[in-house]
């Protein structure tokens, strides 16, 4: 879809970058909302002014967030915080968009990981379509690759989909430092959040692999976070990385999506193999039925990176 009118819900790192880059992709932002305010203009909002106001005053406009959802747009961009369980408020946002026969593009992992079946049912009853490339691996075109191959031609997906955990493990291995030390460093650098639980406990990675499983199962089976076996990296001492290194290996937080289920755990991988990416890089390996193994790697997070995936999704929507 070209020249789409976008309503952007969420003015965090991702939402702001979508607002900033939309014009470059030929789209118009007609509404923006954060948790307490909104701005709506059918002819397109003044994106620069909105971003300035958000930076200065913490709000995007004088309207109510509900006005953005009910406003004029072709595509609703859902970039509010990822929540578990009922995945609210994201899920209701998607529902409202689809009920109005609008398209919805998600960066928010919650609804796709926790309520995939319901989401697909809502989509089936709507003229609108959902896309969610940004939920898995930021800028890396993982879901569109699966779409190109056809889910039935991919037998498994595995890899590294959390940059924070990967940064910590690769720093621990390279510098011989302990977990606590590297975590503090990562927080100083802004690589890890003040509360890093989602990342270091493997939950964020698990949500992404749950989404991958949902896509690969293609309706035959539905997965949620509860179906995933999840282990984090908080208990991995520096000594374990040393012992791995002596043997030409290293430890990475690896997720796997197979027809049997979803798992995320620290695993031993060859130190010079494709999965041992360093820093905040992400990588996914897809096992294909006729074309062997595909490795796709790149930046798995960040505002502009994730916005790129959102805007590519908008372009892929059928009018």
């Amino acid at each position: 879809m070209s020249g789409a009118r976008l309503a952007v819900l969420g003015a965090g790192a991702v939402g702001r970058s979508v607002v900033e880059l939309a014009a470059e992709y030929g789209h118009t932002v007609t509404a923006v909302a954060d948790s307490s305010s909104a701005v709506v203009d059918p002819d397109g909002v003044d994106t620069e002014a909105v971003l300035d106001r958000k930076a200065d005053a913490g709000v995007v406009g004088d309207a109510d967030p509900a006005d953005a959802i009910e406003g004029p747009y072709d595509v609703l961009v859902e970039a509010t915080p990822t929540t578990l369980g009922d995945a609210e408020p994201g899920f209701s946002h998607v529902k409202q968009g689809l009920d109005r026969d609008k398209h919805v593009v998600l960066a928010n992992k919650g609804p796709v990981a926790e309520r995939y079946g319901e989401l697909r049912e809502l989509e089936a009853d709507s003229e609108g379509e959902i896309r969610f490339e940004a939920t898995v691996g930021g800028a890396i075109p993982i879901l569109s690759t699966i779409e190109d191959f056809g889910a039935n031609h991919i037998t498994a997906a595995r890899g590294v989909l959390n940059g924070t955990a990967n940064f910590i493990l690769s720093r621990m291995a390279a510098e011989g430092l302990d977990y606590e030390h590297v975590l503090a460093e990562a927080q100083d650098l802004g690589v890890a959040e003040a509360d890093p639980t989602f990342d270091v406990e493997g939950i964020d990675a698990a949500l992404k692999f749950v989404i991958l499983s949902n896509v690969l199962a293609d309706g035959d089976q539905e997965f949620t976070l509860d179906d995933a076996a999840v282990d984090g990296i908080t208990d991995i001492p520096g000594t374990a990385l040393d012992l791995a290194a002596e043997d030409g290996r290293t430890i990475r937080l690896i997720g796997e999506s197979t027809p049997e289920g979803v798992s995320v755990a620290p695993r031993l991988v060859p130190a010079d193999g494709p999965l041992s990416v360093t820093g905040t890089l992400n990588i996914v390996q897809l096992e294909t039925t006729h074309a062997g193994r595909l490795n796709i790697s790149g930046r798995g997070a960040g505002g502009p990176e994730t916005a790129t995936a959102v805007l590519s999704d908008v372009s892929r929507l059928v009018e």
Binding site: R158, D231, D235, I236, P237, G238, T239, A240, D242, L243, A244, E246, D247, R249, I251, I254, A265, P266, R267, L268, V269, P270, G273, P274, L275, Q285, E287
Partner: protein
Amino acid sequence: MSDTGGEVQTYTVRLELVDEPGELLGALQPIAEAGGNLLSIYHERGNLTPRGHIPVEVDLSCAPARFETIVESLREAGVNVIQAGSERYDEELVVILVGHLVDTDLSDTLRQVESCADASLTDLSLSAPRGSDDTSSARLRLKTRSGTNGKALDKLREIAADKELQVVEPLTEASQ
């Protein structure tokens, strides 16, 4: 296409021999002649089979396609072959255990791994840091029977869970 029939594998053949001079040599000849490579011979002199013969275990390597020929030529040479197959500890499994390894009796852990997980430990590296309440790590290199890595890992997980140890497992598919 070569005629070797695939990558060389290791096999174990169990024979029984009459306790007479020259018997063993006679039994080994067909193996070499049929293209097998002798790796080890385990001659259990003290032990007798129910028929009063001496059991001998021979490890050899050859291309899979040759193996049948070797067993046949042994039988043709009049050697009693009791068991033939690739029932050997020829797969490697490397894991790292993390936790209070010393407090939870590492040698007992290893004993359990060897007996329950049907694996033999070929190498152990332990790294225990400063303070005694810190967790330590151990790298275990195990030999398992071909095709049983999955089972060995299941057992290993159980043993570790009992002692509240964490197992860092290898991602085998990715190492190819």
